[in-house]
Symmetry: D2
């Protein structure tokens, strides 16, 4: 068989839980369905537990292991550091990796605070001057139906955006006896539903509309304030030796918003919507039409074209599995549905293409910072009687001079 002459892209991944499995699948599958300009090599996996990381590397297919991320980023055979740890470690690892000249793919949310996110975005900007590139993993952008939605809006298919409604509904801790985890600990996770899943719909709305969220009015709620401590579980503040420990993050986050183009929106992120498992529901109403999406039916995008005669107008259920649709030509014939992890593959593909030509991949750390600033504004508003709160760094944040 012929030699592969494409340059190698050495991958090092930090973390190997849920997101580690998803990213590994992406790196494994991407070269099999897409033509890539570089040859990804799943070189090194990093985790603190020697035994854990060894087992994970074998299962997930990584060639070597490290137990200290500082050693990982020092390795010559690693060109890209893929950060899939909890949010409180993102900033330190990502900044160090970028400063070491490694490209970085960092899971969302970019960080647990605006301060950290700003430092990361600054590091990314500095690194970019040297051709070292950074991307944040708002993966849902690359669900084909969502990519198509963004294309249609950009093409003016629904006109100017007037309203959005965005919901991310789950139910995995609706049962008050579901145990504590790091995702319910403010120290580790930064926030609860807001940062974990609310971050996704903030990014998706900004991605699809091409606009910024400029101001918000928010409300956070914790329905279950104390939960059982799982056996063998430790490391959460205030849980040592207790049967139950405190939930220190929000269970649900709701907020109103304004967009930079003049539209308004409602947002909701919750882990308490019994019966909704991973329902990312997006609706965009423009001056000339509407779009609707629900991740529970992820291969479908609904498009309403208001310029059609009323007698025949109706939401079109576009099954986004045609070769004409984003990413789809690489996969299967029409109607052979894609699943959750395909978006991770698309993310890997686009990242490799960007790296090969030295272009900034999207979403950038600046995009991640923009999301973080919206989350921060929601938290500040919620802490201040839901008062309207400007999002830092947006047009609303920079009052125009009076004439």
């Amino acid at each position: 068989m012929s030699t592969d002459e494409r340059p190698r892209l050495g991958l090092g991944m930090v973390g190997y839980a849920f997101m580690g499995r998803a990213h590994s699948q992406a790196w494994r599958v991407a070269p099999r369905f897409f033509e890539l300009p570089l040859r990804p090599d799943m070189a090194v996996l990093c985790g603190r537990s020697p035994q854990g990381v060894a087992t994970a590397a074998r299962t997930l297919g990584w060639g070597a292991v490290e137990t200290d991320w500082r050693r990982l980023i020092a390795r010559d055979d690693v060109d890209l550091v893929d950060v899939v740890t909890p949010g409180d470690t993102h900033a330190e690892i990502a900044v160090a990796a970028l400063e070491a000249g490694k490209h970085v793919l960092c899971e969302k949310p970019l960080a647990n605070s605006v301060t950290e996110a700003e430092a990361m975005a600054a590091a990314a900007r500095r690194a970019a001057e040297h051709g070292v590139l950074a991307m944040v993993g708002f993966t849902y952008r690359r669900v084909p139906a969502i990519s198509l939605a963004a294309q249609l809006v950009a093409e003016g298919r629904i006109g100017r955006v007037r309203q959005v409604r965005a919901q991310y509904l789950q139910d995995w801790i609706a049962d008050p006896e579901a145990p504590l985890s790091w995702r319910l600990d403010k120290q580790r996770a930064g926030s609860g539903a807001l940062g974990d899943i609310g971050a996704h719909i903030v990014d998706l709305v900004q991605f699809i509309t091409g606009e910024s969220i400029t101001g918000v009015s928010g409300l956070l709620e914790t329905f279950v304030t104390e939960r059982p401590v799982a056996e063998g579980f430790s490391g959460l503040s205030g849980t040592a030796g207790s049967a139950r420990g405190p939930v220190t993050v929000d269970d649900a986050a709701v907020f109103l918003a304004r967009l930079s183009g003049g539209g308004i929106g409602t947002f909701e992120a919750t882990r308490f919507a019994w019966g909704r498992k991973n329902a990312i529901r997006l609706e965009v109403n423009g001056t000339d039409g509407s779009l609707a999406f629900d991740f529970e039916d992820l291969n479908v995008l609904h498009l309403f074209d208001a310029t059609e005669p009323a007698r025949e107008a109706g939401y079109r259920r576009i099954v986004v599995t045609e070769p004409e649709h984003p990413y789809v030509a690489a996969w299967w014939p029409a109607g052979h549905m894609l699943g959750y992890e395909h978006a991770f593959t698309h993310q890997a593909v686009d990242l490799v293409h960007a790296l090969a030509v030295g272009a900034q991949p999207a979403p950038s750390f600046d995009d991640g910072l923009a999301v973080q600033r919206v989350l921060d504004a929601v938290e500040r508003s919620a802490a201040d009687e839901s008062r309207w709160t400007t999002v830092a760094g947006t047009p609303a944040d920079t009052p125009q001079e009076e004439s």
Copy 2:
């Protein structure tokens, strides 16, 4: 044929536009499908235009006409005054009718302001002491699927309510060239989407949950501030002789809310959601399950029972057309779907039963006032940077004394 020995209920209706047609259909049809303790008689129709009211009476099947509502409420053959005029006239007519000893059915919203609504509710309470009864027409309560939802919540089927999301989406003025009407004039309509359709979802949430909305954070938006004046159209402030006139109400209203039982909610009322015609969408998440409803599929209620084993759990699509369901036994066999106007018939039926036994019909003017106070709080919040605003007359409005 045998004589009908039931007591007569003389009906007088003020107004004969959209709601007049719906109420007429209800009065006409109710006795044909339901056994009523009184015999409704569509006696008198009232409207300002002699010719208009005569034509309407003939078309809609009313026995006589009046052109002055004061004469209508003075008639001996009128026992119940059905008020289906725009909101700015409700208070005067309803209070006068009640004081004249006539029962009143008043269309929603109860009034255009809290002050008016308070006066009406007070009048209703005074009248009730003399057996004169008042009801406000939040008709959607009597869509069978919605009635069933309220029953299931009251029975504890989904546990304690944690979250609601309520949307009323229309698109009839999404086109900026849609002409002005009284519904876009603050003087006549009080508010826009907020009072016209937002009022419905406020009432429905309070009805289904059996709780009060105690506080809100709101945002109002007018997307199209000027519209064409339809030929022959007059009476709107500032439109005399102009080709275009100002829209003085909100096009969309969004708000966050807290419920008296500890839950939270998001609300949206808009006339700009292209492709959604009359989409009343309600979701309620409780501690033990969830409910979901969409008026675009009005014969269906979705129920998720969280106590079922995960392997078999799923939203049940209940087709609410069984004899066991509210109101349905009087109509057709299962699966023979009901439509929009059936709820008006159910409203008439329940009202006649209440009158026959001297019981307070629901929703009462106090219920209508409660809705008005929520709308008022939304407007005040929207005018004050979306700051959290307590709804008057609710538990949150009456701080508990410190011990």
Copy 3:
């Protein structure tokens, strides 16, 4: 009030069960929403039980009663005889009425046998020569979404028809303990699911496509051959004094078909599809597009336009409640859904218009006969090892001469 100068149309109805209630509602409501050229007068109701018919007349709003249909059709104040009795009596009543010079509206199926249906169609043709008109009640044609479907096909919107799939699914006797009724007695009902609900989908396919079903291959099945005799129930063959009696009709009927335009189809009528209450499901695939309809969502028609670019093509969910849609302008604003009985009103409206100008209303008795011939071919095929069976009176029944 002004005098109504429209000619009176005296109505006499034979029967007052389920269909009698539906027709009464139609006659009552039609003049209130539609402008009619004649003035329908619900004059006389006929039933065998003096007490039963008197009670029904009062409830349903008929002016007088008869206990013998022969007297009804002899009355001078009756211009139109509305036949809503079981199928075994249709022929005798309808033919007599037509011969007496009365217009006839006859419920479906037209008759219990082809022989009867042929006699009725012949009588209708004779009567038509004298301006006396007959119509058969395939009411579902006038559900607005179905009317729109027929319009779109006629306009060539989906090209030439290649395939249809038609299902009418119910579950009302899926429980083997559901008692016997006349609908399960071959003597009274002619057939079971085939004639009762299969007749509807046969007519609907012929209506929507504008084509004839020319041949079939059929299979009939009776799952529950014996059922409890309801107390007080009598008149079914072989049930006297028994606790259980035989079911003498089909529970389910399935058949394959060819259409006169070259297409093929599958048909299914069943009363045993647990969970489907009145699911009339129709799909039509043409050379340029497709249509889909489900009565469980009766205000919606789905249209796929195959000429659209693949990237944006998708089934459009047309909410058939716009003024541009058939019949809708007379009712409510967009999105205010119609129900089952509205189609009966539309049927009455169209019939009155046809009578006023002396035009043949559709569906005619010939249309009813065509349905009967299809049902007959299905039964003959089922009795002959499902062998392909030509439908009498269709192109396939009249071989072209060889040139």
Copy 4:
């Protein structure tokens, strides 16, 4: 990293088109998500074109290549031969491989004729005596929602099966200008929609119900009898040098059926249903409930439980992504939807487990033969005026002796 001590399973695959890509993905991914008792090794890929197979092997990740399948099955490093070629070559390759002592996974349909399928099934039975095992690739059985459906039926959840309706709707050649391919050539494909996609729904119905289809009445139709010959296309009979060539298979196949348990069914396979891309729609009605599935929403199974009180009964929309559901625990959290190719992974996993313990994997070649016999009966019925035709090898094929 520790040594993998599991026995190696050497894989050799013949063919590398659509199915080859799907099977490769399955072999690649299975060991990463599932614990397997053997270690699959993607050893050898076989194809006739040296360059084509080399490129495919590199893209798909196979270690070596062969251009003659006879050499492949002779190799010592191949334990399992995976046959993903067109149907006309299945019999020769599979029988030879089994006789050479190689396990076989053969794509569906098992063969192009009953004669071939019988030979293959006989070979498989002989091989099984020596521990050499064969499986046919009716992959859709392992879509989790379909596996769950089969489990629920087997557990008696819907009682005894009365009716099924099964449709496989595509539209990829609805355009008459879609070019010829081997799938439209009777020599290569055996039949058209019938064998390609009809085979799937035949197998799925037999799998879910656990019953046999015992008799059928069928109809086949070819709508477009001549199509363009794609440039560079050759090898189809009668197309040499022509711009257009004949379609020699059915475009659509419809049939009625009886099941061994007494139920009846309707089946439809078509490539002409504009707007349906890969719609495998299955409904099963039992004595105690119903199931419904549509591949366009493949992560969902609908269950109707007829034993629930009518007030709360309704089709449950089970999102089949819980750890309690078949195969799901190995993948992602609830609500993170799976796609088309996951079923191939499940097939590989189950096959490896069966091989490891020497158990017969399902579906067996006998299962594949049973499908082939149904297809054959459909073709014979269609050729004989749709006359009822017994399926060979079923209870109906073996008349009981009279007593």
